[in-house]
Symmetry: C2
Subunit: 450 residues, 2 copies
């Protein structure tokens, strides 16, 4: 890919575009060109939006224009949803009009062997100074500018930036983030990444004030040197979590067909990530969970975890995984045991896990952590499991967060009404909360480096 080697791009003008044209906006609700315009409008984008369609006067209440040149006003960014063969012409026109960026959703390029068409696209972009995301991609979403040129429509702003060679994986995780109340700071589906690449985007979100963590799905790195240089710098600022598709031989071959990535050998990739200081994960759930917890909690030394639970079985399952991951679920000291035994009802099982049993109110979790914070200062992280519909979990966790300087993460395992409300409320309020003890234990491992 050395022919595509390039300098780091400044993407501020692209993501903070003050006007957008949608080339290929459609009046037909079945078409993507309709859905994307509709999403951009419903996102609440505040700049002018220009639908481009030679056959329509108006789309979704907006005046439509036959071409970009007919708009007659400045356009910062365009979305392109027309047949691929027309895309280079549009980019050429855009360049002449001073457009800064293009999100090319259209397919029909290198992914089906049309390398020449993709070269024409890149040439047009370079000539006119237009930065291209894509082609053959699921677009971008940037809530800080209420800019959604993508689908589905995800509106909730949060700290999670998603950069992905798979539009589906990015969209699925953005959807989760919205459902759980944590939201996203951005989403970029890279597609064929003919121009703007993962390094440019990691660089952008690394400096983006609304981004707390960057989650990346990659099948290969476009430019190793650039990736290392950007990576080292960004890793000092905020956490970057990476899932690599194509780590097996057959997976690697599939990756090469998918986005024509040079997937590269898994071990070299792993070594590069370690050197940079990125987090490497092995599954989509882990990509999400690790990003979710590192958006809120800084990594810290130590390995001692105290489990506090209302469900004995869930506590044991958590302990098994914590132990297997090399964390220390140390027993309580005599002093701490004595104090908790004195305070709590006799049916509570004092230890690690501390089993408050199924009838516990949320307040007892708080009392336990406050007592332990005094008696056992060596505890590095509290893992709270709510195994029953326990109201006020969030309020009590938030009071704890103010009172102690150790990470608190939670598991809300049930699926009832109280559980669903508290699960979302905890996540919204930056107490990272997971649906199973195993995933919560892995999140603990993402924080503790000892």
């Amino acid at each position: 890919m050395s022919d595509n080697k390039q300098e780091l791009r400044d993407l501020n003008l692209l993501f903070n575009a003050r006007s957008v044209a949608i080339v290929g906006a459609s009046t037909n609700p079945e078409k993507l060109g309709y859905e994307i315009l509709n999403n951009l409008i419903n996102m609440g984008y505040e700049g002018p939006i220009y639908p481009i369609n030679p056959k329509a006067d108006e789309i979704l209440g907006l005046k439509a224009y036959p071409s970009l040149s007919d708009v007659g006003r400045p356009i910062d960014l365009i979305g392109v949803i027309i047949p691929g063969k027309f895309a280079p012409g549009v980019i050429e026109e855009a360049g002449k009009l001073g457009v800064k960026g293009a999100v090319v959703i259209s397919g029909g390029f290198r992914e089906i062997g049309n390398d020449d068409l993709e070269s024409a696209l890149v040439d047009a972009a370079r000539l006119g100074g237009v930065g291209i995301i894509g082609p053959n991609c699921q677009g971008i979403n940037y809530p800080a500018n209420k800019l959604c040129i993508s689908w589905p429509l995800i509106k909730q702003a949060g700290g999670l930036a998603l950069i992905s060679q798979s539009g589906t994986i990015a969209a699925a995780l953005a959807d989760r983030a919205e459902k759980e109340g944590i939201g996203i700071s951005g989403l970029v589906a890279l597609g064929n990444r003919c121009d703007i690449d993962e390094s440019d985007l990691i660089n952008f979100f690394g400096a983006d004030p609304s981004t707390d963590v960057i989650a990346v799905y990659l099948e290969g790195i476009r430019d190793g040197e650039k990736f290392m240089e950007v990576g080292r710098r960004v890793a000092r600022e905020k956490p970057v979590v990476v899932l690599k598709g194509g780590r097996t031989e057959r997976g690697r071959k599939a990756a090469e067909s998918h986005t024509r990535s040079i997937a590269g050998r898994g071990e070299i990739f792993d070594a590069a990530l370690r050197k940079i200081g990125f987090e490497k994960v092995e599954s989509i759930d882990a990509l999400y969970d690790c990003a979710k917890v590192l958006a809120v909690e800084k990594k810290r030394p130590g390995r001692r975890v105290q489990v506090i639970t209302s469900s004995g079985g869930s506590g044991i399952v958590a302990v098994d995984v914590l132990e297997e991951l090399g964390l220390d679920v140390a027993p309580l000291s005599k002093g701490a045991s004595a104090r908790l035994t004195e305070v709590f009802p006799s049916h509570c099982v004092v230890g690690n896990p501390l089993d408050l049993t199924g009838d516990t109110p949320a307040e007892r979790y708080k009392e336990a952590v406050l007592a332990l914070a005094e008696e056992e200062p060596e505890i590095d992280l509290y893992l709270l499991i709510f195994g029953d519909p326990i109201p006020r979990a969030t309020e009590n966790c938030l009071e704890l967060k103010k009172a102690i300087d150790r990470p608190i993460i939670a598991c809300y395992i049930g699926g009832g009404e109280v559980e669903e409300v508290e699960f979302k409320k905890l996540n919204e309020n930056k107490v990272p909360t997971f649906p199973t003890p195993e995933r919560t234990a892995r999140a603990a491992r993402s924080i503790l480096t000892g």
Copy 2:
């Protein structure tokens, strides 16, 4: 535990009880004695229900009785939700009245060191011939008899029987099963299992016509010989999936505190399961997923998997995990490649994974499988990934299930409206469907033994 060693119990009369008394039924909606009576009523239990409460004339529209003896009609089964110290007396009374079984939800026994009280309970049970589930448990649910003496209320009948030393884990999985539309055939929280144990229950659900698969969470085996004898027999009839809590040293100690189980060495437990022919899993998600797929698909020899996807990235992630699990994601033959290339649009990536790309209709999955069933008879399992909101996925999968004799399992990764509807519909219609490519790949491994 040799003092408790006992013969296998016949639980038919207990689960098929024709009349139920709730000892400790309450008029106070905040109390468990109210919730359980309410759940039993709302489950639609068709036999007479007798609330027992000396201070009430009527509870939830039912005549209440001061004691079991005051009912004056036959009682098959009782639920017990009174302070533990009164439980032995109630069991004694029940025995005299010919009650066959008791679900003792009350705590206050061995779990807090009251071994004498538990012995008194067991003595009363043995004397009167009353089978006890519990004490200190979350009860039972048996939809075939519309019998729910537990919480939360799970009504949907299906093929999954849950037996668990953790009430929370059982309840959480039952709740999932209801939400996904697969339902349960039964749920039993073992609690302290002073009398009826996991072997009795595996034996019962092994013979139960509504049960297709048995999922078990255990912290220890009560009687090894009995477990092996029952296990060997049941494993020949239907799949049994087991998650063991306490597989690490600290987990084992926690398990001993939790249900006073002798958790035993992990390796011995594993060897026993292998010998019996039970499936061993390592996480709550895996317990659920493995049971879900084995409820529908028989294990079969072979290891060749064909992945068909609308999402390139998700397909690659699936291939990675399939390969790591030792399955064979073999490339297509020239003949099959040629045929699919001819039939499908040029932007589809023909191979394994077969990437139909994001605009594919559900029909194309069906066409692909039908063509491959002819061209590549050596494919053992089809793994279909729906990475986009693709309507009619279920209809097309059901037609395939009729047309070909290979397992079909699916992944529906997105969280939009179409995805949620199709995810549930697929599961309801016995096409086991999972939320991530990784979990789908693991389900494939649960079926293929080659």
